[in-house]
C-alpha cells in the first residue's frame, strides 16, 4: 500500500514544495495534496511519475511509516538562519539516517551508548571535565573526535546539505544518541560541531522544548572546554600570544583559529582588546571563511570497517541503498565525508529537475 508519509519525506528531502513537485511530475497540485494527506490512493502511473520526479525507487513508497523525529527534541544550530525548507530537509535526512542505523544494527554489532547524563550540571566547563573524566581522557587533546564518539556508541551521520545555515543537529532515539553533521564545512568546524552536539546530548537530554539561545551558548562553552582543557592550554601557551601563536596552537587541539582565540580569551590569556584585534587579523588572513593549513578530515572507523566487510562479501553501497529502498545519492549523502574523503560530494539524482 502506498505510504503518504514517504511521499512527504521524499519531497522534503528534495526541497520541493507541493506546487513545484506538481509541475515537474505532471500531476495536479490538488492530487499531490490529497495524496500527502492520505485522502487518495494513487494509481500505478501516478506513483511512477512521482518516483521519477523525486528520483526515489518505487519500493520506497511502499515501506512502513518512516521513523518520525520529534522536532521539539532536536537540537539545531543556527536556528534563526535556517529556512523552513532547510529544516524540513535536514529532519527528513534524520529519518533516512534512522533507517540506515536500523539496517546497521540488523547487520552488525556496534558499540552501545556510553555517555553520562549531565542535565543536572549547569556549568558547561564542569560538564566537559566530567565527561572527559568518564571517558578517561584526562587533559589530553583528542586526535580523533569521530573515533571517540563511535567508540562510545554515538551514531554520526552526514548531512548532505550544501548550505552554510545548517551546521548539525542531534537527538536521542531508543537510548541511542544520534548526531547529524554538515560535513561540507572545514574539518575543524565539523569537529567543533560534533562536540557542540555532544554538549546538547549530555546536558540537554531532558530539555524537552525547543532549544534556547542559552542552551546553544552552553553547548558552545561545552565544546570549547571539552576540546581545549583549561590546564593543558595554560600549561602550553606562552604568556605573550600573537596571531601566529594562535595559528600554531590550534593544531594541537584540532580547532579553528577563531575557536582557539575565543578559548584563550575566556581563559583570560588574551585581553578583550587583544582578542578583538586577533579576530580582525585572522579574518584578514582568511580564517573567518576557511581554515588555511587546517587539519585533515576525520574518517569514520565504523563505516570503513562496514564497507570493507561488505566489499569482502562482494557487496557495495549500491546494495545497501537497494536494501533500504533509497536512492544511492541519499546513502552517499548520509556517509559523505565520514567514510574517507571523496574528492567531490555526491551528486543528487537530477531526474526531478527540469525546465518548467
Amino acid at each position: 500500500m502506498f505510504n503518504h508519509k514517504r511521499l512527504s519525506l521524499a519531497r522534503k528531502r528534495r526541497r520541493l514544495t507541493g506546487k513545484v513537485l506538481a509541475e515537474i511530475s505532471d500531476i495536479s497540485a490538488i492530487t499531490i495534496s490529497r495524496l500527502e494527506n492520505n485522502e487518495n490512493q494513487p494509481d500505478d502511473e501516478t506513483i511512477t511519475k512521482l518516483a521519477r520526479a523525486l528520483g526515489y525507487p518505487l519500493e520506497f513508497f511502499f515501506e512502513d511509516d518512516p521513523e518520525e523525529i520529534d522536532t521539539s527534541a532536536v537540537s539545531f544550530r543556527s536556528l534563526t538562519k535556517m529556512s523552513a525548507k532547510e529544516r524540513d530537509a535536514a529532519i527528513a535526512a534524520g529519518a533516512l539516517g534512522l533507517q540506515l542505523s536500523s539496517w546497521l544494527d540488523r547487520e552488525f554489532r556496534l558499540p552501545s551508548a556510553n555517555i553520562i547524563d549531565l542535565s543536572y550540571e549547569t556549568n558547561p566547563e564542569i560538564a566537559a571535565r566530567s565527561l572527559r573524566q568518564f571517558w578517561h581522557l584526562g587533559e589530553k587533546p583528542i586526535g580523533n573526535i569521530l573515533g571517540l564518539l563511535e567508540v562510545n556508541g554515538i551514531r554520526v551521520f552526514s548531512l548532505a546539505e550544501n548550505t552554510a545555515s545548517v551546521d548539525a543537529f542531534s537527538f536521542w532515539r531508543d537510548e541511542r544518541p544520534f548526531i547529524f553533521l554538515n560535513n561540507y564545512k572545514t574539518a575543524e568546524h565539523s569537529i567543533y560541531d560534533s562536540v557542540h552536539e555532544v554538549g546538547h546530548l549530555t546536558m540537554h537530554r531532558h530539555a524537552g522544548s525547543q532549544p534556547s539561545r542559552a542552551a546553544e551558548r552552553e553547548a558552545n562553552q561545552f565544546a570549547s572546554a571539552f576540546l581545549m582543557p583549561e590546564n593543558d592550554v595554560r600549561a602550553r601557551m606562552p604568556r605573550f600570544i600573537t596571531v601566529n601563536t594562535i595559528i600554531e596552537a590550534r593544531t594541537r587541539w584540532r580547532v579553528s583559529a577563531m575557536a582557539m582565540a575565543y578559548r584563550l580569551h575566556t581563559l583570560s590569556l588574551l585581553s578583550e582588546w587583544q582578542y578583538k584585534s586577533a579576530c580582525i587579523e585572522l579574518g584578514r588572513r582568511g580564517f573567518r571563511s576557511g581554515e588555511p593549513g587546517g587539519v585533515a578530515r576525520e574518517a569514520s572507523r565504523i563505516w570503513q570497517k562496514v564497507l570493507s566487510q561488505l566489499w569482502a562479501e562482494r557487496r557495495t553501497k549500491n546494495d545497501i541503498a537497494a536494501a533500504l529502498h533509497i536512492p544511492l545519492d541519499e546513502l552517499e549523502g548520509l556517509i559523505w565525508g565520514l567514510a574517507g574523503t571523496p574528492s567531490t560530494r555526491p551528486e543528487r539524482t537530477r531526474a526531478f529537475v527540469r525546465a518548467v
Binding site: 547487520e107 556496534l110 589530553k140 606562552p238 600573537t242 596571531v243 593544531t251 565504523i302
Partner: protein, 206 residues
C-alpha cells in the same frame, strides 16, 4: 658636541617606577602594555607583507596603544609638525612611540629604525641648541619630549633623546622599563606523544 651631554640612566625598578609616576604616566606596567601591543602587532607580519611591515605595524599600534592607554583627562593627542605624540600640557611633556635597534643596553645607544624627520628634530631639541655645551638642557619653550623606545626583543625604555640629522645623537635621560624577558615569547609547547587518538570501535558481523 652632544657627547658632552651627561645621560641620567635609571635601571632599578624602584627608581624607574618613581620617575614614571612623576611624569604622570601611571605605571611601568601601563607603558609595557603599549610595548606588548606593538610587539604583538609586529608579529602579525607575514612573508606576504612588505618587508618593512613588522616595523610599520609596531609603530602604528605602538602609537595607537600610547593614546589608548593615556589620552583622557590629563594627556591629549597632538600632531606637532606631523609628529604623532601625546602631550601633557601642565607638565609640558610629549611622548612618542619609536622602534629602536636595541633598548636597555648600557653599551649600545638606541637608534631609531627609521629616519627621524625635521618635525621630530624640532620637538626634540635638535639644532635649537646649536653648539652650546649643555648639561641636562632645558629647551627654550620648556617642553620635554620622551620616546617610548621598543626593540624587536620587547626591551623597552622611556628615554629623552636629542634628535639631529635624522637620528638620536644624545640622551638626556634613559629609564629602563624591561629587557624583554618578561614577554615569554617562547613557542607553544606542542608534543604529539600525548594525544588521545587510539579509538577503535568494535564492529562485528552478525
Amino acid at each position: 658636541m652632544r657627547n658632552m651631554i651627561e645621560t641620567m640612566v635609571r635601571r632599578e625598578p624602584w627608581e624607574v617606577g618613581a620617575r614614571v609616576v612623576e611624569l604622570e604616566l601611571g605605571s611601568v606596567e601601563q607603558l609595557l602594555r603599549v610595548r606588548s601591543l606593538a610587539i604583538s602587532a609586529s608579529a602579525d607580519a607575514t612573508n606576504f607583507h612588505p618587508a618593512n611591515a613588522a616595523g610599520t605595524f609596531a609603530y602604528h599600534y605602538g602609537t595607537f596603544g600610547l593614546r589608548k592607554e593615556y589620552v583622557g583627562k590629563v594627556w591629549r593627542l597632538d600632531r606637532p609638525d606631523g609628529v604623532e605624540v601625546i602631550v601633557h600640557e601642565a607638565l609640558k611633556i610629549r611622548v612618542i612611540f619609536a622602534n629602536v635597534d636595541v633598548a636597555c643596553d648600557d653599551q649600545i645607544k638606541p637608534k631609531p629604525r627609521s629616519r627621524k624627520g625635521a618635525g621630530a628634530e624640532r620637538v626634540c631639541i635638535g639644532n635649537l641648541f646649536g653648539s652650546l655645551l649643555e648639561y641636562a638642557p632645558q629647551p627654550p619653550d620648556g617642553w620635554r619630549t620622551f620616546y617610548l623606545m621598543v626593540d624587536e626583543r620587547g626591551a623597552a625604555e622611556l628615554t629623552r633623546p636629542v634628535v639631529e640629522r635624522s637620528t638620536f645623537t644624545a640622551y638626556i635621560e634613559r629609564n629602563y622599563l624591561s629587557d624583554g624577558t618578561d614577554l615569554d615569547r617562547g613557542p607553544v609547547r606542542l608534543r604529539d606523544d600525548d594525544v588521545a587518538d587510539d579509538f577503535d570501535p568494535e564492529v562485528v558481523r552478525k
